[in-house]
């Protein structure tokens, strides 16, 4: 049998180059999954369990359901209060209940939340008095709750600026030996802002325990996601900063909580920040003042009703036998009572004191502010005298 030289070379192991092991992918462990993580189907039936995202305890999911029901009722009540002129404006988060509630449920009470104006539901789910939450939108002050006591920054109206605050706060906490985690809520539009990038980068460089939680609800007011990014998804924005990132079905409450639990645990373990993108949908206009018919079809909105996070979780919990008609009715009653109390309290006209304008500008008012306060005091006294 004759062999060609080529065949001999192929056959001879000596002639083969030693196999060099492939260099490890430096982005391994950072990349999000190609598809959003899902633990429930759209109809609420469970998908096979996953080792990387273990399902949260069923009691936590039941509590999540309760808070989502109360949250949705709160949201509807706030929208109604706007129509009655009790609130200046209200940005609804209807349809985003899994994210709103999941974000706060993943945290301890001593963790910090950095919310935007759309997180009223999340804040009430955190246990903050709804009247204090709505102070901003009613207009009797800016932030109505005690930010320090509630470990909750004021709702941020400028986009993404809180991303850097969270990095600083979380670093400061770990610097002082505390294992606090900060969770930042932002939307898809805000990921285009410079402060998003600076915040994620600072958190990464200083290994600050922050979870950046992007609720991608498809629209920044009217501008669609395609105008915000050319990235495969927003979760990929973390990779360039060395931040492990994940995308999740934001209307799958079980997956949202599972992914956030992992992200929070990662941060708390001192491994630095984590970025989570939740794919969800804003069912209502940007605010009551917005006209969504100008930029999206009713059909599109309708299609998202089939992925309603509350219906999905209810189906699942009923199948797990931890929720029945009686429990559903009782929770609905709780939600009604919550809304009724809110309605009643919001009907009372808040008292505002013009002289409070001069408080909290500085620790102590300057001489100029004292002067201006006296002028306003005199104006008020004169007006009162005229009325009398």
């Amino acid at each position: 049998m004759t062999t060609t030289p080529q065949a001999a070379r192929r056959a001879s192991p000596r002639k083969r180059r030693p196999a060099t092991p492939a260099a490890p992918d430096p982005a391994a462990g950072l990349m999000p999954q190609a598809e959003p993580v899902r633990l429930l189907n759209s109809d609420g039936t469970p998908l096979p369990p996953r080792a990387d995202y273990p399902e949260p305890p069923v009691e936590a999911l039941r509590e999540m359901y309760r808070r989502m029901i109360v949250g949705r009722r709160f949201d509807a009540q706030a929208t109604a209060l706007t129509k009655q002129g009790r609130l200046a404006v209200y940005p609804s988060s209807r349809g985003q209940e899994a994210c709103q509630v999941g974000g706060v449920l993943a945290l301890r009470d001593d963790d910090w939340v950095f919310p935007t104006y759309r997180e009223s539901m999340a804040l009430t789910a955190r246990g903050i008095d709804p009247v204090e939450v709505l102070t901003l939108l009613r207009g009797d002050w800016h932030c109505g709750y005690d930010s320090a006591a509630r470990r909750t920054a004021p709702q941020c109206t400028p986009l993404a600026t809180q991303c850097v605050h969270a990095a600083g706060l979380a670093y400061g906490e770990s610097y002082q030996g505390r294992d606090t985690v900060a969770l930042v809520y932002i939307g898809d539009g805000a990921t285009s802002e410079g402060d998003f990038h600076e915040g994620v980068n600072f958190a990464a460089v200083f290994k600050a325990p922050v979870v950046y939680f992007v609720q991608n609800n498809r629209y920044a007011i009217s501008v669609p996601l395609s105008r915000q990014t050319a990235a495969p998804s927003l979760a990929y924005k973390g990779v360039g900063y060395g931040v492990p990132s994940e995308q999740v079905d934001g209307n799958d409450p079980v997956a949202v909580l599972a992914v956030l639990n992992r992200a929070v645990a990662h941060a708390r373990a001192g491994k630095g920040p984590y970025l989570v993108e939740a794919h969800t949908y804003r069912m209502e206009p940007h605010t009551n003042a917005d006209d969504q018919t100008r930029y999206r079809d009713a059909d599109e909105v309708e299609a998202w009703r089939d992925r309603d996070p509350i219906a999905r979780l209810e189906t699942y919990l009923r199948a797990r036998d931890v929720l029945d008609d009686a429990a559903v009715a009782e929770i609905a009653e709780q939600a009604e009572a919550y809304a009724a109390r809110l309605r009643e309290r919001m009907n009372a006209q808040p008292t505002v004191d013009p002289l409070s304008l001069f408080e909290h500008v500085y620790a102590q008012p300057t001489a100029q502010l004292v002067e201006q306060r006296e002028q306003v005091r005199a104006e008020l006294a004169a007006a009162q005298e005229e009325d009398a």
């Binding site: 800016h142 600083g168 670093y171 002082q176 909290h360 620790a363």
Partner: protein
Amino acid sequence: MATMTMAKALNAALADAMLDDERVVVFGEDVGQLGGVFRITDGLQARFGDKRCFDTPLAEAGIVGFAVGLAMSGLRPVVEMQFDAFAYPAFEQIASHVAKLRNRTRGALSVPMVIRVPYAGGIGGVEHHCDSSEAYYAHTPGLKVVTPATVADAYSLLREAIDDPDPVVFMEPKKLYFASGDADLSTRTESFGRAVVRRPGRDATLVAYGPAVPVALEAAEAAREEGWDLEVVDVRTIVPFDDATVTASVRRTGRCVVIQEAQGFAGVGAEIAARVQERCFHALHAPVLRVSGLDIPYPAPMLEHTHLPSVDRVLDAVARLQWDDQPDARWLTDGVSA
């Protein structure tokens, strides 16, 4: 009492503050190993470690926003903006958050911090390195704005700024960094919030701050030859503004020229002139005049001397203070003459 440069005094103030208060952390661009491009943070990292004095990513909004979070957690950040014009990316953080957080939260959160800004010109710097940006900050309620003109004040004002419960924008006149002066670092000048009469005089008051103070003092010295005895008031703290000291001086002298290096229109000098006019009208023998930089983008180095307020320009203004009780011819025409 020791003789040192303003840069050294600022450095000593930072070191002493870090020594006295372990909550004080110093950070920014190149402030660590390098000690800052002007060496104001020189040696701090070696002495206090890289957790208390550290470099950050090159992002000014990030630096100030990070400081907001650190202050919320209970630390006392002192951040360096490398140059005046490089602080503009941080302006949103400063105006919307640093200045307002106490007010927005009804005092639940406060963010005491010092934002150090090397500012103004006269050093032959190329563009974007010589802006006088104090008016932007002074126009923002919630901020305090401070600028030293002497070595002793540099130390004292910075110590007081770091101890202050409110955020302070600390404007450091670059051209004075390496000017020497006497300072006793064991005593404070109690300078915060208080203007000071740098040179007493009877005939007119020159009000100045930061880099314009040496110009005012030099002008006052030169004015002696013309027979004018000029008083010089150093504002020191632009916010909160010390009306009392300025007003008392002008009421004594009856004449006032406000000097600032910044472009004049809608500037701090305009505010001071208005306040003096409101409070001293019946004591004034002449309109309050301003000497300022020109209303132009900061010029190229070879042209900056024409832009900057000079002793001659100050003396020209003093000469127009209606010493002969005649109106200033410049204001007698209608509108603006070409």
